[in-house]
Amino acid sequence: MYLSPRLPVTGLTPTAPHLQTSSAGDPQGGNAFVVDFTGFNGPLDLLLALLRDEQVDIYDIPVARVCEQFLSRMHELQLNEAAEYLEMAARLIRIKAQMLLPRKEGSDDWEDPRAELVRRLLEYQQMREVVDVLERLGEDRRSRFARTYMGQPAAPPPAPLALSLGDLLVAVDRVLRAARRPTIHEVIPRALDVDGAMQLVRSILALRARMRLREIIRDDSEPWEVLSALLGLLELAKRTEVHLTQPRPFADVEIRRELAGEAA
């Protein structure tokens, strides 16, 4: 019997007459969301259809013949571009080649190159059986209506939430523990003493008109002392109390008292 490509391989079961009607419709009939141009649900489906047409023993597939027909059906159905079919074609060709390799006489460990394909075909076929069952069950259910009236007793409200602050805090706890080491900054109060540095400069400049940075920053000064001195000087310069000059790069900074600052 010639199997029309429109009919699914297992669509002719006596217990599920609706299968025939369902798949005999328009080309995309029932394909609610996947457009299948061929009527076949993939290369395994096509292959099974071919095997059925050929009436072969599934455990002894004449690979050369089936491969040839698979390729010609691919061509017929214009599937030459479909990756999934191409992959199957390649697999068939490889198996065909492996079948031609000479076998060692009398060795038991010859592995039939078709075994994996047979396993997949049987697995797929098994799934098709389940599809038949589901299709029949679904059809039965679809032939009954549930209540659709949603008026009077309003649709049941969503179940209330059982929440407690305890739950939320446990969650906070988990978040804090899971977070990659919470960055907690160690803040030392008054780490910088900008005001102190400014006072120091002012008191020196009260005695003489100019001074050098080296006088307030020594080699063994702590980083915070250096930073405090720099920030203090910049602040004083901004307030035009001092004038800063550096004769050349890396030279000592000269600090001069400004007249405007004196006036202020």
Binding site: N41, L44, R52, D57, M127, V130, F145
Partner: protein, 214 residues
């Protein structure tokens, strides 16, 4: 009908979806489980014996009143209700694999079907028929899918155990090398399996190991 049966009828008529047995029990805090069961029996029998256009059906761990199939055509013709759309063959294949192999990842489904299933899985998920039930170990920790309560509802299954067991399927009965399986037999065998599954199975045990609760 006794008053509990009437109360159950009222509640079941009001609900568009199956009502779980525990929820039915909550309708009357004084009703015993036995009382509830016998009231449900009474209601079901009433619909069956008395001749009604509706019937009481056990589905997805609960109960639902549904119209009888013989009236569907007339109701649809008169445009009073619309049947839900059918699933495509591709969707059904994917759903079948997920139902039997859950929890299962997308790649594994694609492997069995021999085609990519990304779009189909997305659509089944949108329809509420499958859901993410976990993540696999290993590279990329792929999502694992399982069927939902809605799946049971749409196929009017009480639980996953109502699906035929894998060893009940025709293909599983043939052992490699025992006798030649003609490719043509596969189809007929499938029909037998479907019929066997239709009859109340003798051992409706869990089909699916590690299946998530419905």
């Amino acid at each position: 009908m006794n008053s509990l049966a009437k109360l159950l009828e009222a509640a079941l008529f009001a609900s568009p979806r199956p009502i779980a047995t525990e929820e039915l029990a909550a309708l009357d805090p004084e009703a015993s489980p036995a009382g509830l069961a016998s009231a449900l029996d009474e209601l079901r029998e009433h619909y069956d014996v008395d001749g009604h256009g509706v019937e009481l059906v056990e589905v997805a761990g609960g109960w639902q009143v549904l119209t009888r199939p013989e009236y569907t055509e007339a109701i649809e013709r008169a445009q009073m209700a619309v049947r839900p759309t059918k699933l495509s063959p591709a969707a059904l294949e994917t759903l079948a694999i997920i139902a039997y192999r859950q929890p299962i990842g997308r790649a594994e489904v694609a492997e069995i079907r021999g085609v990519d299933v990304g779009a189909v899985i997305k659509s089944l998920h949108e329809r509420g028929l499958i859901d993410v039930v976990g993540r696999a170990e290993g590279l990329g920790r792929p999502l694992l899918y399982g069927t939902t309560r809605m799946f049971l509802e749409q196929f009017a299954l009480r639980h996953l155990g109502e699906l035929p067991r894998v060893d009940e399927l025709a293909i599983a009965l043939r052992k490699n090398g025992e006798e030649p399986v003609m490719a043509a037999d596969l189809v007929e065998a499938a029909g037998v399996a479907a019929e066997a599954a239709a009859a109340p199975s003798a051992a409706p045990e869990a089909v699916v190991e590690g299946a998530p609760g419905a």
